[in-house]
């Protein structure tokens, strides 16, 4: 176990180096959400918002950001596979999950940094308590991250070349974004609606935040566990069927 986490540490370091190698992309990755936040909520800047209003206006955007970041992390592992990395490194590491866990640690760190900036901006712009908001956003991230990983892991269980991986990334991101927006237009799903929570990572993240901040935890815990177990099983199945060989070789 010690060796496993040592390997995770070394790969996480390497992936951070990859990220730092292109500072422009790093600033873009962290800064873009804040820019979008400013554009989306510019008319409310300076107006005190309640946490519920914050959830309504800002959380869908944060939820989409969490989801898209995890999906990008998964497709980047897929791209490493297409370059032959998984095939070679699986014979070196204790377990091929070392690479996935390392990539996910980098992603969650980036998300945490982004959330700190979002909380700071939101606290100033909407007169919200910074530490309380940061705690709520951080806890939301911790709770939604594992099911989101389970949601995205199937990308690695299907043999796809780099072009197809990129296409799948774009299509899934758009479907989740526009699908969630469409649901919002035609209905007001309840907090505990199992189908909506299972199928829309955006609604799921939003609902977790609402449950945490609006004292609805007990009402929501069953739905949360359902989502966690369902996507946990999907993630486990996907990991068991992880494609190691590049598409051309498979």
């Amino acid at each position: 176990m010690h060796k496993y986490w040592m390997q995770v540490f070394i790969y996480t370091n390497y992936f951070f180096k990859v990220l730092r190698d292109d500072l422009g992309v790093l600033v873009y990755t962290i800064g873009l959400p804040v820019v979008f936040l400013g554009l989306n909520t510019s008319r409310f800047i300076g107006t005190p918002l309640t946490t519920l209003q914050f959830a309504d206006r800002v959380l869908p955007f944060i939820a989409w950001m969490i989801f898209s970041n995890v999906l990008v992390a998964m497709t980047s592992i897929g791209q490493l596979r297409e370059h032959g990395y998984l095939k070679q490194y699986r014979t070196l590491v204790v377990n091929v999950s070392v690479l996935i866990v390392s990539e996910l640690l980098v992603t969650v760190t980036l998300l945490a940094v982004t959330l700190i900036i979002v909380a700071a901006v939101a606290a100033g712009a909407f007169h919200l308590a910074f530490w309380q908001l940061l705690w709520q956003l951080g806890l939301t991230l911790v709770l939604v991250y594992p099911p989101t990983v389970g949601f995205c892991l199937p990308v690695l269980a299907v043999a796809m070349n780099t072009k197809t991986l990129n296409a799948v990334l774009n299509v899934v991101t758009l479907v989740v974004m526009f699908g969630s927006a469409a649901i919002n237009q035609v209905m007001t799903p309840s907090l505990t609606n199992p189908i909506i929570n299972l199928m829309s990572p955006v609604y799921f993240d939003l609902n977790v935040f609402i449950a945490l901040t609006q004292g609805q935890l007990l009402r929501y815990v069953g739905t949360y566990l359902l989502v966690l177990v369902f996507w946990g099983c999907v993630g486990h199945w996907s990991y068991r069927h992880l494609v190691i060989l590049p598409k051309e070789a498979a």
């Binding site: 060796k3 390997q7 070394i10 390497y14 180096k17 190698d21 060989l245």
Partner: protein, 223 residues
């Protein structure tokens, strides 16, 4: 290492690619896997390293060395060493001093002047050799090298082979199209993969067969 009754078919096709194939690897020792393009050399290597599930029960630990992997050009050679040997040794910070006791002399001689150089500043051949030599230090019973000498000058090829000889307790399976690789060793075993079957040759038998088998003849002649 004896491979008995190997049967394998690609998951998406029903056709059997290897049907009840048996052969032996000189173990320990150097084995060359040769054959026409598309004969299935890499497929066989994938099976022997466990990347392709088959009916074989693998009783050995293997490492696979790809033809070349992309690596971030801004990292230094010491970072690449960390990524390969830090992983293997379970060490967070790998220094050249610590490496001295753990790697063979040929590898140390090659790595020492390059240790702080950026990977991107090395020539293509040097980059490949850095990775190959580092992976050769990883302790596994079976080491599979997929065309390791392609794009490397012959002086560096000698360094690679010195690294292999320094770990003579292992079994090597080298995929190659270059007869000079075979000629660099006195003792070896050649596995010729042809029409989904494998024929094994010891050195003398190999050169005799090259006089009658056109493919082997062309291989030895360097065509």
């Amino acid at each position: 290492m004896n491979i008995q009754h190997l049967t394998y078919g690609f998951p998406r096709t029903k056709a059997v690619f290897f049907d009840d194939v048996s052969f032996s690897l000189q173990s320990p020792g150097v084995n060359f896997l040769i054959g026409e393009n598309g004969a299935g050399k890499t497929t066989l290597a994938d099976i022997l390293t466990g990347s392709r599930p088959s009916n074989l029960a693998l009783t050995w630990q293997a490492i696979y060395l790809n033809q070349q992997l992309p690596m971030l050009s801004s990292v230094r050679v010491c970072d690449v060493a960390q990524l390969v040997l830090g992983i293997e040794y379970g060490e967070r910070h790998l220094t050249l001093a610590r490496l001295q006791k753990r790697v063979d002399a040929a590898t140390l001689t090659f790595l020492t002047p390059l240790w702080q150089q950026r990977y991107g500043q090395l020539s293509g051949g040097q980059r490949k050799l850095v990775q190959l030599l580092l992976f050769l230090q990883v302790d596994r019973q079976l080491v599979v090298l997929d065309e390791p000498t392609a794009a490397i000058d012959r002086q560096n090829v000698q360094r690679l082979f010195a690294g292999m000889r320094a770990h003579s307790e292992r079994t090597y399976l080298v995929i190659t199209h270059d007869s000079r690789d075979v000629a660099a060793f006195d003792a070896f075993n050649v596995l010729w993969l042809h029409q989904h079957r494998i024929k094994c040759y010891q050195p003398q038998a190999f050169y005799q067969a090259a006089q009658t088998e056109p493919f082997l003849g062309a291989f030895v002649a360097g065509h």
